[in-house]
Structures are given as structure tokens and as C-alpha cells.
């Protein structure tokens, strides 16, 4: 802040500056004493403030849960019935598992393809399509 700026500042601004300077010049114990004089028990006020903050944080976090619940309810739908050639589906799944590069961060916490039933192979292929690992089949 330059001297010229200071001249141009209004009286309330200069008063505010004075208050700020006063606060910055005061020691911690002086500030605490002044606070206690005006608002009472410091520890109680700190605890009340902390409780208010935690209550607000909890409400914000619960809002995230409610948003997720609403999104789940909105997305719930019956899957379409699709027709697969099972041999082709197994080959497609095998290729997808073999070809997936590590940088794609593909996670497969499930059984190996040759241990999967036909229904499980088809279900997994549908999941891969939904996640964009495999392109959707024609007509989907």
C-alpha cells in the first residue's frame, strides 16, 4: 500500500486498517483475554465452534451419501436380453483379457475364462462393453 493510496482511502477504510494493525500488534494472551471478557469461557466457545464445524461436515458428507443413493435408484434398470454365439463370446472374452494393456488398469477379480460358465462369459462381455473395454456389438 503506497502513501498516495492511503490518502485516497475513506475514513471507514482507515479505521478498519487501524483495527487490523491493533489486532496484529496484540499478543495471543491479550487476544484471548479480550475474547474471554466479551464472550465468556474460551474452551467452551472453542468446543462449540468445533462441534458446529463437525456438524456441518457431517451434514455435507451425508448429502454425498444421499446423492449416491439417488443416483443408484435412477440407474436401476432391467438389462436388455441379447443373443450371443457362445463360442464367439468365449473367444472375444479371451482376446479381450489377453490384449488388455496394463496401462488400461483393467481389473478382473473373477475366475479365469475357461472356468466360467456360458452365462458368466456373456455377463462379463456385457460388463466389458458397458465399461467401454470392448466396442458395443452391432444393434446394441
Amino acid at each position: 500500500m503506497t502513501g498516495d493510496d492511503k490518502k485516497e482511502r475513506s475514513t471507514p477504510d482507515r479505521l478498519a486498517d487501524l483495527f487490523v494493525e491493533d489486532i496484529l500488534a496484540a499478543s495471543d494472551s491479550e487476544i484471548l483475554a479480550e475474547f474471554a471478557e466479551r464472550h465468556g469461557d474460551i474452551a467452551k466457545n472453542a468446543a462449540d465452534g468445533r462441534a458446529l464445524f463437525e456438524k456441518s461436515l457431517l451434514a455435507a458428507n451425508k448429502a454425498k451419501l444421499h446423492a449416491a443413493q439417488a443416483a443408484v435408484a435412477a440407474k436401476r434398470f432391467a438389462g436388455n436380453v441379447t443373443v450371443f454365439d457362445i463360442g464367439e463370446a468365449r473367444e472375444k472374452l479371451r482376446r479381450a483379457l489377453a490384449a488388455c494393456p496394463p496401462e488400461m488398469k483393467l481389473t478382473l477379480a473373477a475366475r479365469k475364462e475357461n472356468e466360467l460358465s456360458d452365462a458368466d462369459v456373456i455377463g462379463m462381455l456385457e460388463d466389458f462393453e458397458e465399461l467401454g473395454v470392448l466396442p458395443p456389438r452391432d444393434g446394441k
Binding site: L65, T107, A109, E115
Partner: protein, 256 residues
């Protein structure tokens, strides 16, 4: 209290009661969608790519098993992205090695029964028995087995949890307050009440019953002590027994 990754996730969503643990919503929050459909080979699977995943759960499984499966797959999603794994989701049971499956099981237990909610709820029950287990399992919508493991491993009371099939002991879990020298026998002792439940088709024990410790442990000092056992049936050919250590001498580090 130091929070686990699953517990941090629950707190991120402001979950303060067991009934708020909505696994589909939690999955959505971490980019995973849950589908229910018949599965032939396993209880559940996860397919994920670039931050999005689909968890498919066997719709024919009982509700609490489905919940465990979702939580288990969310454990994979949080720990094992980018790895190719073979996954057979089984009922909650302790596993011996630090495998991805064990990590996913631990994650599932923390998600279904977070300690910051479970411990205060468990403290309401002064005695460890299957009534306590059953009531907590209902409150957290978790299986009897998973809930009993959590109670024993969290040292509600000094105890072991032992699972037997007709072929012998399948697995056991021991609280860290019970010295490791107390290793349960491989096969059920014919004197134990558990034997009658498994082989004699007797009903579940309504409450723990006193029995000599040598019915459960093959150690020279076991004949000096008594303990409590309570057994419930968890399957056609499977029982779960709480072995409660009531003599504090058994908890001393070295045997007398």
C-alpha cells in the same frame, strides 16, 4: 481411533449408524455399479477399467451373503486395481496368508462392521455368546460367522471361534488375548457338546456350557482347567463353536 480405508470411506459419506451402510450407494461413490444376476461359478465378480467398475453378485445367494460379496469386491476395487486375480467369494472366514482375498475380506468386515460403530454397539453386551452375536449380526446386517469373528478378534472376551465339518476342524480364530499355546484339536472330542450338535443332530446350544479344557486342547495342562463352549449349526454339515476362556490362568503367557 485410527481408521481403516473402509472406515474412512464410510466417514466420508457421513455414516453414523449401521443401517446407513448402503453398499450400492457406497459402490456408486467409488465408481462401481452393482448388478444382481444368477452366477454359476462364484458368488461375485468385479470387472473394472479406468476408474469405473461393475460388481456382479449372485442373485440366488442369501441377502447377507450378497452384502458380504459386494463389500469383498469393493475391497478388491480399492486394493487390487490393475491386477488380474482369480476370485471366489466365500463366506467370511479367517485366512492364513496375507493374500488379496484376505485383504478383501478384512476390507469387507470393516465396511460391514466398522469399529467406530461396532465397538460401542458390542460394549452394550457384557457376555459373549451366540445371542450377543445374533443380535449384533442383525443390527449390522452381517452373517453370524463374520460377526462372531469380529467379536473374538476384537477381544470382546478371551475366546476362540472354531468351525468344524464332519471331516474335522475347518478353521479357527483366536483373540490376541489368548496365548497361542491354546491350539484347538483337529477333531472334535466325543465329550464335547459340539460333537452332539454335529453328529448327534442335537439342537444349537441355547447358552454356553461348562466343560473340561482337555475336550478342546491337546495339552498337558488342559486337564487343570474348565471353560465354556457354545455351538450353533451354520450349515448341514458345519458347526461354529465359541470356546470361552474363563480361567485367567489360561491367559498367562507360559503354562503352569
Amino acid at each position: 481411533m485410527l481408521l481403516s480405508p473402509a472406515e474412512r470411506l464410510l466417514q466420508e459419506l457421513g455414516i453414523t449408524e449401521p443401517k446407513e451402510i448402503d453398499l450400492e450407494a457406497i459402490a456408486h461413490h467409488v465408481g462401481a455399479r452393482v448388478k444382481f444376476r444368477p452366477l454359476d461359478g462364484c458368488e461375485a465378480r468385479i470387472v473394472g477399467c479406468n476408474g469405473a467398475a461393475i460388481i456382479t453378485v449372485n442373485e440366488r445367494s442369501p441377502p447377507r451373503r450378497r452384502r458380504f460379496s459386494i463389500a469383498h469386491e469393493l475391497g478388491h476395487w480399492c486394493h487390487d486395481r490393475g491386477k488380474h486375480l482369480v476370485c471366489r467369494v466365500e463366506e467370511m472366514r479367517p485366512r492364513d496368508q496375507l493374500s488379496p482375498e484376505r485383504i478383501a475380506d478384512g476390507y469387507a468386515a470393516d465396511l460391514l462392521m466398522p469399529r467406530y460403530l461396532f465397538k460401542p454397539a458390542a460394549r452394550v453386551y457384557p457376555k459373549l455368546n451366540f445371542k450377543t452375536v445374533s443380535e449384533l449380526a442383525s443390527a449390522f446386517d452381517a452373517s453370524i460367522t463374520a460377526t462372531a469373528i469380529r467379536l473374538v478378534e476384537d477381544r470382546h472376551s478371551p475366546a476362540l471361534l472354531v468351525c468344524h465339518g464332519k471331516g474335522g476342524r475347518k478353521w479357527f480364530s483366536r483373540g490376541t488375548d489368548v496365548p497361542p499355546r491354546w491350539f484347538p484339536k483337529d477333531t472334535l472330542d466325543a465329550e464335547s457338546y459340539a460333537f452332539e450338535v454335529l453328529f448327534g443332530a442335537k439342537p444349537d446350544d441355547p447358552m454356553p456350557r461348562k466343560i473340561g479344557a482337555d475336550a478342546w486342547f491337546d495339552r498337558w495342562e488342559a486337564e487343570r482347567y474348565e471353560l465354556l463352549e457354545q455351538t450353533v449349526r451354520t450349515g448341514d454339515d458345519e458347526i461354529l463353536t465359541l470356546v470361552l476362556i474363563t480361567d485367567h490362568h489360561m491367559l498367562e503367557e507360559s503354562g503352569r
